[in-house]
C-alpha cells in the first residue's frame, strides 16, 4: 500500500517566485538608471517591471495561475524597454534573463497549483525540476550562441528570429498532432 504523503507547501515557491521577480525588476531598474540614455523608456521599464511584480504577487497570493503569464510578460516587456533604452550595446546577460523568466513562471505556476487539492511525490518533483533546469539551461546556452552569432554577423537578427519562430511552430504543431485531444472515462470495475 502506498503511503499517503503530506501535501506540498505552496509558500516556498510563491516566495521564491516573488523574490526572483523583485531581483529581476531591481536589476532592470539599476541598469536603466546607470545607462540613463532614454528617460522615457526607463520610466516604461520601471512601470512594466513593477506592474509585473505586482501581478505575480497577486497571482500567487490568490492561487490563480491565469495571470502568471501576464506577469511574466510584463517583466519581459520591462526588460525589453530597458534594453532598448540602453542603446546599441549588446546585453550578454539576455539568456540569463530568459532563464530567470522561466524560473519565475514555473515557481508561480507551482505555487498556484499547490494551493488547490493536489498530491505530489518529492522524488518526482525533484526529477521534474532537474529536467526543467537542464532544459532551460540548454536553451539559455543556445540563446547565448545565437546572440554571439547575431553580434558577429550584423543584420542577422531577422533571419535568427524567423528561423527560431518557424522551428518552434513546426515542432509545436507536430507535437500537437501526435498527442491529439479529448478522451472518455470508463466505469470502475
Amino acid at each position: 500500500m502506498a503511503p499517503s504523503r503530506p501535501a506540498a507547501r505552496p509558500l516556498i515557491p510563491a516566495l521564491l517566485a516573488v523574490a526572483l521577480s523583485a531581483v529581476l525588476v531591481a536589476a532592470i531598474l539599476l541598469r536603466a538608471v546607470a545607462a540613463a540614455t532614454a528617460p522615457a523608456l526607463d520610466g516604461a521599464a520601471a512601470g512594466a517591471g513593477i506592474a509585473g511584480l505586482l501581478v505575480i504577487v497577486g497571482a500567487v497570493a490568490a492561487g490563480r495561475s491565469a495571470p502568471v503569464g501576464w506577469g511574466v510578460g510584463l517583466l519581459a516587456a520591462a526588460y525589453a524597454a530597458g534594453l532598448v533604452g540602453r542603446g546599441a550595446q549588446v546585453d550578454v546577460l539576455a539568456p540569463l534573463v530568459g532563464l530567470l523568466l522561466v524560473l519565475i513562471a514555473e515557481l508561480s505556476h507551482s505555487a498556484c497549483e499547490w494551493r488547490g487539492p493536489h498530491a505530489t511525490d518529492p522524488s518526482v518533483e525533484r526529477r521534474r525540476w532537474a529536467r526543467l533546469l537542464l532544459t532551460a539551461g540548454a536553451g539559455a546556452l543556445a540563446g547565448g550562441g545565437a546572440l554571439a552569432l547575431a553580434a558577429a554577423v550584423p543584420g542577422s537578427v531577422p533571419g535568427l528570429v524567423v528561423g527560431a519562430a518557424a522551428l518552434v511552430g513546426l515542432v509545436g504543431l507536430a507535437a500537437w498532432l501526435r498527442a491529439g485531444a479529448g478522451g472518455s472515462a470508463q466505469p470502475v470495475r
Binding site: M1, A2, R5, A7, A66, V68, G69, V72, G73, A76, A77, Y79, A80, L83, V90, P95, G98, V102, A105, H109, C112, E113, A119, D121, V124, R127, R128, R131, L132, T135, A136, G137, A138, G139, A142, G144, A146, A150, S156, V157, L160, V161, A164, A165, L167, V168, V171, G172, A175, R178, A179, G180, A181, G182, G183, A185, Q186, P187, V188, R189
Partner: protein
C-alpha cells in the same frame, strides 16, 4: 484520459512570440536569446508529452452494509500508466458522505503496470443507499504543460443502515401467535414461565409435579406454565407527507424509529412486516430471522414520500399483509387525514393498533402575527382532537420528539394500553 493545457502551455507560446516579435521590431537579438529558455522548455515538453491510456481502476469498499456514522474504508487499486511518472488519485464521495482521516487526493508512482492500493475512509452522515463515489485521476506530462484527467464512477452501492436505538421493552400485543418465540403468552400450556398450580390429572407428566405444594396438601399438585409464543407486528408508515428539511424530516425520523422497532421485535424472534402507506403502496410481508431483518431494513431505506391527491383507505392494502391478531404500529406525523382514517378503520375492524406520533411543531416557523398565532392554536386543538379520537378508539398514541430516545415513547404507549386493558376487564 482526456487532457487540458495547463497555464504554462497557454502562456509560454505567447511569451515566446512576443519576445521574438519585439526582437524583430527593435532589432535586438538579446530578446530572441531571452526567449530561448522558454522555447526550449516548450519544445521539450511538447515532444516528450504523450497522452496516457486510462488506467485500470478497481474501487472496493470494506463493507457492503454499514450503520450510519460508521467509518467505511475504500480501497482504490490503480496502476500508473507508463506515460506519466506519477498519478494523483482522488475520491469524490457521494452527497451525504464525507471523507475522514485520509488525504485526498493521494499520489502513486512506480513501475508501469504494477497496481498499487490507496486507502480512503468515508463516513455517511445518514442512512440510505449510496454509490461508492467517483474516482478522479490526474496526471501531468514531464514539464507540466498538459494535464490528463479521467473521472471514473462505480456501480457498486453501499447501504448505510439507521443506527438502531436500544429498546429494552416493547409494546405488548393483545394476542400472541401460535409459533414459538420469546414472548410469554397469556394462556397456559407447555413453557418455561410459571403460571399456577392445579391438582394432578391423569396424563400429567411426573416432572411437572410440584412436590413442595403436594407435601402441604392432599394428593399431587402440578405446575402450570405459560407457553412462549411470538407475535406478528406490522409497521404502518405514513408516507403521504412529511415535515422538515431532508436530513431532519419526519420521514427520516420515521425510518429511524421503524428500523429500531423492527430490529427489537426481530431480536425477540417475532415476525415483522412493513407497509408504506402513502402516495404509493409498498410492503414487505411479515417474516422473521436475520435474512428478513436485512430485507426489511433494505426496504425501509427506499422509503420516500410520494405526493398524491388520490383518496386511499385500508381497502387498498392486500388482506394477507395484515395477519390475524397482528399488532399494527403506525408511525405518522398526523398530517394527512387519509392515514388517520386508515388507523381508525383498522381499529374499528378489531385489529390491535398503536401509534407513535412524530411531532411536527419544531419544523414550523414562529407565528408572526396575531392571526397566525390564532391559526396555530386552532391547528393544535385540531391535532389534540385527532389524538383524542384515536385514544377513544382504543389506539394508544404517544409523541416521539425529535432527538429524544424512543424507549420512553414505547413505554408510554404500553402503559396506556395496560390501563385500557384493565379498564376493559
Amino acid at each position: 484520459m482526456s487532457w487540458a493545457p495547463t497555464g504554462r502551455l497557454l502562456a509560454y507560446p505567447w511569451l515566446i512570440a512576443g519576445l521574438l516579435l519585439a526582437a524583430l521590431a527593435a532589432g535586438r537579438p538579446e530578446l530572441a536569446a531571452a526567449a530561448a529558455p522558454l522555447a526550449a522548455v516548450l519544445l521539450a515538453g511538447l515532444l516528450s508529452s504523450r497522452r496516457p491510456e486510462v488506467p485500470g481502476v478497481r474501487l472496493a469498499a470494506s463493507e457492503s452494509r454499514i450503520v450510519e456514522g460508521d467509518r467505511l474504508d475504500l480501497t482504490v487499486e490503480v496502476s500508473v500508466p507508463s506515460e506519466v511518472e506519477s498519478l494523483e488519485v482522488g475520491v469524490a464521495p457521494p452527497p451525504g458522505a464525507d471523507l475522514v482521516d485520509s488525504s485526498n487526493p493521494q499520489v502513486v508512482t512506480g513501475a508501469a503496470g504494477a497496481p498499487q492500493s490507496l486507502s480512503f475512509a468515508v463516513r455517511h452522515r445518514r442512512w440510505g443507499a449510496y454509490p461508492l463515489g467517483t474516482v478522479h485521476l490526474r496526471a501531468f506530462d514531464g514539464f507540466r504543460l498538459r494535464r490528463f484527467e479521467a473521472r471514473l464512477g462505480s456501480e457498486a452501492v453501499v447501504r448505510a443502515y439507521p443506527r438502531p436505538e436500544r429498546l429494552r421493552s416493547l409494546i405488548r400485543p393483545a394476542h400472541t401467535h401460535l409459533y414459538a418465540g420469546n414472548r410469554v403468552a397469556a394462556r397456559k400450556g407447555e413453557g418455561v414461565e410459571f403460571a399456577d398450580i392445579r391438582p394432578h390429572a391423569p396424563g400429567d407428566q411426573l416432572r411437572s409435579v410440584n412436590w413442595r405444594a403436594s407435601a402441604r396438601r392432599d394428593g399431587l399438585w402440578v405446575n402450570e406454565r405459560h407457553p412462549e409464543r411470538n407475535v406478528d407486528v406490522v409497521l404502518l408508515l405514513d408516507t403521504f407527507t412529511r415535515a422538515g428539511p431532508d436530513e431532519e424530516s419526519t420521514l427520516e425520523q420515521m425510518v429511524r424509529g421503524a428500523s429500531s422497532l423492527a430490529s427489537a421485535w426481530l431480536r425477540e424472534r417475532d415476525r415483522v412486516g412493513v407497509i408504506d402507506f402513502g402516495g404509493t403502496l409498498r410492503w414487505l410481508e411479515v417474516g422473521g430471522g436475520m435474512r428478513h431483518a436485512y430485507r426489511l431494513i433494505d426496504a425501509l431505506l427506499d422509503t420516500e414520500v410520494v405526493f398524491s391527491y388520490a383518496w386511499k383507505g385500508i381497502e387498498v392494502i392486500p388482506i394477507r399483509l395484515l395477519p390475524p391478531h397482528a399488532l399494527i404500529v403506525g408511525l405518522t406525523p398526523l398530517l394527512d387525514r387519509r392515514f388517520l382514517i386508515a388507523l381508525l378503520d383498522l381499529s374499528g375492524r378489531g385489529l390491535d393498533v398503536a401509534v407513535v406520533e412524530l411531532p411536527v411543531e419544531s419544523h414550523l416557523a414562529v407565528p408572526r402575527s396575531p392571526a397566525a398565532a390564532l391559526a396555530r392554536r386552532m391547528w393544535r386543538l385540531e391535532r389534540e382532537t385527532v389524538r383524542a379520537r384515536l385514544l377513544e378508539a382504543g389506539v394508544g398514541i404517544a409523541p416521539w420528539a425529535e432527538g429524544e430516545p424512543l424507549e420512553p415513547v414505547v413505554a408510554e404507549v404500553e402503559a396506556w394500553r395496560r390501563r385500557a386493558r384493565l379498564r376493559a376487564r
